[in-house]
């Protein structure tokens, strides 16, 4: 029997509709692994990084309300969005280090009948899978080995920076390990933690398209058949503009982009619906359907 693993879960706004395939595949993969993820009740937007310049303290209040709700469960809080992860973690860290700020934010929470004592540990799902579960717990569920499939693991900025360990700042390896455990081969991918420009896509599209283009081109040139992501903001950026980017770069930059949870789910024998593959904007059939499933 699987040891019971309990966590709280914060999906975040972008997983509600636009990137629901990440939410769906995460929940189904967690179920296979015997991980219980209790969605925290009536959570609000984390504030995203766009909040800091407008009113930094408001952004702390937004995050602290979520932390306060999660504190009721006394388990670690999992998020799969690297943006939410960094914002929630930053709030928790600054509140623990700065007493004046902490008291001000706690007083604000009390105005709405809540409080936060600082007991929640914010975790990224990818980190939980590789650190709390590990190789054996994952390998045991693989029914469709990736069979040497070359995957470019794209981490983006906020999975490793600024709150990862020293090596994770620029050279995270959690997803590389995971791909190996699923039977695949992580492509040597120099730009794996370079910025995709997601924050600038609406306001500075020229700069952002160049950043996205370099990453797509790099992934292709290291022979990957697909890119795996661990953040909804990176995912939509990498999958959504491939046509525009190819024109701009003067070379074909199209490559399938999937969430690492979809890759895992495929290896675990989950079906297309359980991974919400129909939501993908790139040719994921070449990654999954054409290989077939042994289940």
């Amino acid at each position: 029997m699987e040891a019971e693993r309990k966590y709280s879960y914060y999906p975040g706004c972008s997983l509600m509709v636009t990137n629901r395939s990440y939410d769906i595949s995460t929940r189904n993969v967690a179920a296979v692994l015997g991980i219980e993820m209790a969605e925290i009740e009536d959570w609000n937007c984390c504030g995203a990084t766009a909040y800091y310049p407008v009113r930094e303290k408001r952004s702390y209040v937004l995050s602290a309300r979520n932390l306060s709700i999660a504190e009721r469960n006394s388990t670690d809080l999992i998020t799969v969005c690297s943006g939410c992860y960094a914002v929630l973690k930053k709030t928790d860290k600054y509140l623990s280090e700065d007493e004046e700020l902490r008291e001000e934010i706690r007083a604000a929470l009390r105005e709405g009948g809540m409080d936060y004592e600082g007991k929640v540990k914010v975790r990224h799902f990818l980190e939980v899978l590789t650190k709390d579960l590990g190789e054996e717990a994952v390998r045991r569920h693989v029914v469709n080995s990736l069979d040497g499939m070359k995957v470019a693991p794209y981490y983006g900025c906020l999975f490793g920076r600024p709150f990862g360990g020293r090596d994770e700042f620029e050279f995270p390896e959690a997803m590389d390990d995971l791909i190996r455990w699923l039977g695949g081969e992580p492509a040597p991918f120099p730009l794996k933690s370079k910025c995709c420009g997601g924050m600038l896509m609406t306001t500075q599209p020229d700069m952002a398209l160049n950043m996205t283009g370099k990453i797509l081109r790099n992934a292709k040139s290291c022979g990957a058949v697909c890119i795996a992501t661990c953040c909804p903001l990176c995912q939509i950026n990498l999958e959504g503009y491939q046509g525009k980017v190819s024109k701009r770069m003067g070379s074909d930059c199209s490559i399938p982009v999937v969430y690492f949870t979809q890759l895992m789910g495929y290896a675990f024998g989950l079906d297309a619906e359980q991974l919400a593959l129909k939501d993908c904007l790139t040719d994921v059939d070449s990654v999954f359907a054409q290989r077939g499933s042994k289940r």
Partner: protein, 191 residues
Amino acid sequence: MEVTTVNEDLGRALLERVMSIPNGHKIKACQQCGACSASCPSSYAMEYSPREIIAALRAGVLNRVFESSTVWLCASCYLCTVRCPAGIPFTDVMYELKAMGIEKGLYKKDQHNIKMARTFTRTVEKYGRNAEVEMILKYYLTTNPLKLLGQTSLALKLLMKGRLDLFPHRIKGLAELKKMVAAVEGGSNGS
């Protein structure tokens, strides 16, 4: 000469504010090594590189930086922060500069990033969650409606897949959340 005096005061005020953020005092230890500028994916487009911003900040002439769009080009990638040998949280410095730019009106009129940030915060404060479609529409309508056309191919693809959230979700505890937000300094105004 009055203008110079005003700018000098402003330069000093900006410096004090940056020093007051967590670990902000570390900018005193900047070695001007340029690791931040070399790491930055946006520095090629900035009029002042990250290293130059620190130099201008310390010299009390940061107001000049605001005459360019430099601070709005930061992609918030944290590479400068993790590479800085002096432990300067430069990404947070950029956030603080954006905040002060908005507060003191130190930006060019065509600075769309500010509209974007404001539209976002207003949407979140209305629902407690983000409402992407409403936010993006408002942003383009208040900046450049024609640019919306550039986004239509992705928007259509998402629409076809049922991936556009047309019905924003309002959280149950919205009234309480509003009280919390209003309780922090500057909370109920200024967005």
